[in-house]
């Protein structure tokens, strides 16, 4: 029995390594000098047809690429902070707007509730390209184009967080809220003191997924932001030149560090929230 478990673990570990392999190769490439990088990845960089010589350890480790990125690339930090400026207010807005909406969908029964929630689901599954033009027109009318608000405002009214938080609030027993109401508590009291604490994993999950979505978005900034000074960090990699391949690898590593750190901070709540959504469904 133990031997069987061991084999299973080994197989899973192997699969995990397979998943992690691109990230490990990327991390190794960050510490490679330019000449070694070109020698190993000539073909993927579009500079020749030589075979790829992938390695998990560089032959001649170098911090040159990281130094180039962190010291001599001020543009990268502009984009990093742009991403922060656009993502964090969006998450705050989703919390302010989406959480009450999700509480309403979970708590109240009113005519047209199912239709309205169904429209939320439909909007959630629609690809960005479908709503791109209408969103552009609205943002133009509001005067938000070429501003951070063009990225923040549409994100605040995103439907996925509402959907996830609704599912999370629905797991809270109705009797618990009704008992509080009998004791004289209002709806807002119940929302803040019962809904938010008990639905915390779902809220964190929704915000976590929204953060990853906002952090990695590509089409929205390209469409709404003509001013390059407002571009998020996700657009840094396509903008970088081929002659700075090692810097590109370093930028990719640093870019993915924040989502990883956020995930590590919210790992427990994320698992609970996803599990809660799954149980309800």
């Amino acid at each position: 029995m133990k031997r069987r478990k061991g084999l299973i673990r080994a197989a899973l570990f192997g699969i995990c390594l397979l998943v992690w392999l691109p990230l490990l190769l990327m991390a190794a490439a960050v510490f490679m000098p330019e000449d070694e990088l070109y020698w190993r990845y000539l073909s993927p960089l579009g500079l020749g047809r030589d075979r790829v010589r992938a390695a998990l350890l560089p032959s001649y480790p170098s911090f040159g690429a990281l130094g180039e990125l962190l010291i001599r690339s001020p543009g990268f930090f502009v984009m990093f902070w742009n991403s922060c400026i656009q993502t964090l207010p969006m998450l705050l807005g989703q919390l302010v707007v989406g959480a009450p909406a999700a509480w309403a969908f979970a708590r109240f029964r009113f005519p047209g509730r199912k239709v309205l929630f169904g429209m939320y689901v439909v909007l959630m599954v629609l690809p960005f390209q479908v709503t791109q033009v209408s969103n552009y027109l609205v943002l133009d009318r509001l005067g938000f184009l070429d501003k951070h608000l063009a990225m923040i405002v549409p994100g605040i009214w995103a439907t996925l967080p509402v959907f996830i938080m609704t599912r999370s609030f629905e797991t809270i027993p109705h009797v618990l809220v009704e008992a509080a109401c009998l004791d004289g508590a209002g709806e807002w009291y119940g929302f803040f003191h019962i809904g938010l604490p008990l639905g915390y994993p779902g809220i964190v999950t929704a915000l976590m997924l929204s953060f990853v979505d906002g952090w990695n978005c590509l089409e929205q900034p390209i469409t709404y932001l003509k001013d390059k000074t407002l571009w998020p960090v996700a657009l840094y990699l396509p903008d970088i030149a081929k002659d700075k391949a090692s810097v590109a690898f370093g930028a990719a590593l640093v870019t993915c560090m924040l989502p990883v750190l956020v995930y590590l901070n919210c790992q427990e709540e994320l698992e609970q929230g996803v599990a809660a959504s799954g149980v309800k469904q």
């Binding site: 010291i71 001020p74 930090f77 502009v78 990093f80 902070w81 000074t229 750190l261 956020v262 590590l264």
Partner: protein, 563 residues
């Protein structure tokens, strides 16, 4: 959990710190440039350089060769008036020089006379005349020879007839009568031999005397032509003597042979080996043979005389040619002599002029005087030294000129340009017009400008400036903005573009063609726009595509700092 939150916070702090550092680093390292725009204007060329004040015109007083300088009255910088003494010669050296010139002239007169005498020629016998005389002689000898030959031939016939008659008569004689006749023949042969030897010695002595006489005449003769003629006569005399000896040798041999023959016959008759009759027959046959040999020899002698006539005729032709060549040589000698005489006449004329000049100088006390007023600029004569004929006292006359130098490669100056010449010790300048250019120097060219009546010391070194305006050009930029590499001239233009960091400037290369190059600006043609910021100054080396920071500063026309 707390560690994870600290990790997140540390990440943000790290990114914040790196943001600040990268911006600071960027602001420090980005090249700062100053720019300007191309303007429509004329290009000004300012040529500056140095020059020297020189004399406008010089006049030189050459010291006469061979005369010793007595006194020098001037020195460089002295002002002299017309007629003022410059230097004087020593009286003794002038007298010596005069005597020397007189001697030379006398010698020249003698030489000329000698040349004239050498041209004189006197008539004599030419080679052709000599040869003609020889030919006449040979022809006369041939005529005589022919007569002799005919006589000999007649004599031969007579002798043959006589011998035949004698022999036929002897057939009727007795042995004793034949023996007596044999003895008479022997006696006759002996007498013939003796008389031939005596005649030979006599004639050879006479010929030898002729040869000796000619030798003495040759030794005494002085004229080359006479010597040649006598040598020719000597040669002929020797030949005649040799011929005579051979002739007499033949005759003596023949007489001796005849005597031996008769003696042999007598001995054989006495020994009984033959009879007198047989001996008579032998004698008859031998005499006939001798007669035939004799006539044959006479024929050969006649043939020799004919050959001699032919040879002499050829010698006449050769002598004619030699006479012609000699005449031409004589003419050539005469012409050369004429030329030598003319040369000597010219030399004598020069010496005569020198003598006249020297006489004038002596009359003036040996002083050399200034022909016109001026300033002495150079004195090469020195008191007590004998002049070699190259020493000069140079005086400047007729004002001063400015001689400036300029870089020939630039070629910015031209004839007719106006220059400003700084007057040393003052703030004033003097305008002058370039009236002569010299571009023959290796690196620098020179020009000259008339200073008119400006009073500046000769040799003064001062600066000049020349400002020239070109035609109007559409795009004129400072020279600092004009760059050059292997591909040619180009400008770096700071052109803005939108970037992550906002509007930033990048240096872009624009190839241009230089239409006119001034001292500070250049007119160009190329894809440079009016609004383009042409980089004219940078704090570090920049290249095509580099980010730059446009600064406000001297020479730039940008009011604010931009990056």
């Amino acid at each position: 959990m707390a560690a994870k939150r600290w990790g997140l916070a540390a990440f943000f702090i790290f990114m914040g710190v790196c943001t600040v550092i990268s911006r600071v680093y960027d602001s420090v390292t980005i090249p700062k440039v100053q720019t300007t725009a191309a303007k429509r204007k004329a290009v000004e060329t300012v040529v500056e350089g140095m020059g020297t004040v020189t004399v406008k015109e010089k006049t030189g007083y050459l010291a006469q060769a061979g005369l010793r300088i007595g006194q020098v009255f001037v020195e460089p910088g002295s002002e002299v008036e017309e007629g003022e003494p410059l230097f004087s010669y020593d009286g003794g050296s002038m007298a010596d020089k005069r005597d020397e010139i007189l001697r030379e002239m006398e010698q020249l007169d003698l030489d000329m006379e000698q040349e004239r005498i050498s041209q004189e020629s006197y008539g004599g016998m030419s080679q052709e005349e000599g040869a003609q005389w020889e030919l006449a002689m040979a022809q006369r000898e041939l005529s005589e020879g022919q007569a002799e030959y005919e006589e000999a031939l007649a004599e031969h016939e007579r002798q043959l007839q006589r011998l035949k008659d004698d022999y036929e008569d002897s057939l009727s004689l007795t042995e004793e009568e034949l023996w007596l006749q044999q003895i008479r023949d022997w006696e006759s042969a002996r007498q013939d031999l003796d008389s031939a030897k005596a005649a030979r010695d006599r004639e050879l002595r006479a010929a030898q005397r002729d040869v000796e006489d000619l030798k003495e005449q040759i030794d005494l003769a002085q004229d080359e032509e006479t010597v040649r003629s006598l040598e020719r006569d000597l040669k002929r005399a020797r030949e005649d003597m040799e011929d005579l000896r051979r002739s007499w040798e033949t005759q003596i041999t023949s007489a001796s042979f005849q005597l031996d023959f008769v003696e042999g016959q007598e001995e054989r008759i006495q020994a009984g080996q033959t009879t007198a009759q047989e001996a008579k027959k032998e004698s008859y046959e031998a005499a006939v043979k001798q007669q035939e040999d004799s006539i044959k020899a006479a024929g050969e002698k006649l043939a020799d005389l004919q050959k001699a006539v032919e040879r002499t005729q050829w010698q006449v032709a050769a002598a004619r040619k030699e006479d012609s060549a000699a005449a031409m040589s004589q003419e050539q000698k005469k012409r050369l002599s004429d030329l030598a005489v003319k040369g000597m006449e010219n030399t004598r004329k020069v010496r005569a002029e020198e003598l006249a000049h020297l006489e004038e100088l002596i009359a003036e006390g040996g002083q050399v005087q200034a022909r016109e007023s001026g300033v002495i600029v150079d004195v090469e004569v020195a008191a007590g030294k004998t002049a070699t004929g190259e020493e000069l006292v140079t005086a400047a006359v007729g004002g001063s000129r400015f001689q400036g130098t300029f870089e020939k490669e630039e070629q910015k100056l031209s004839k007719g340009d106006t220059i400003s010449i700084a007057i040393p010790g003052t703030q004033r300048t003097k305008e002058a017009v370039i009236d002569a250019m010299n571009l023959l120097g290796d690196k620098d060219g020179t020009f000259q400008a008339d200073l008119g009546d400006l009073e500046m010391d000769l040799g003064t070194v001062t600066s000049y400036t020349c400002r020239k305006q070109s035609d109007l050009f559409a795009k004129v930029i400072p020279l600092e903005g004009l760059r050059k590499d292997m591909k040619g001239y180009y400008c770096l233009v700071a052109r803005s573009r939108s970037s992550i960091l906002g509007e930033e400037f990048r240096a872009e290369r624009v190839d241009v063609e230089v239409l006119y190059r001034g001292s500070r600006e250049a007119a160009i043609e190329g894809m440079v726009l009016e609004e383009d910021r042409i980089i004219i100054r940078e704090d570090q080396t920049i290249g095509e595509g580099d980010r730059v920071r446009v600064m406000t500063g001297n020479g730039g026309d940008n009011g604010t700092e931009k990056r």
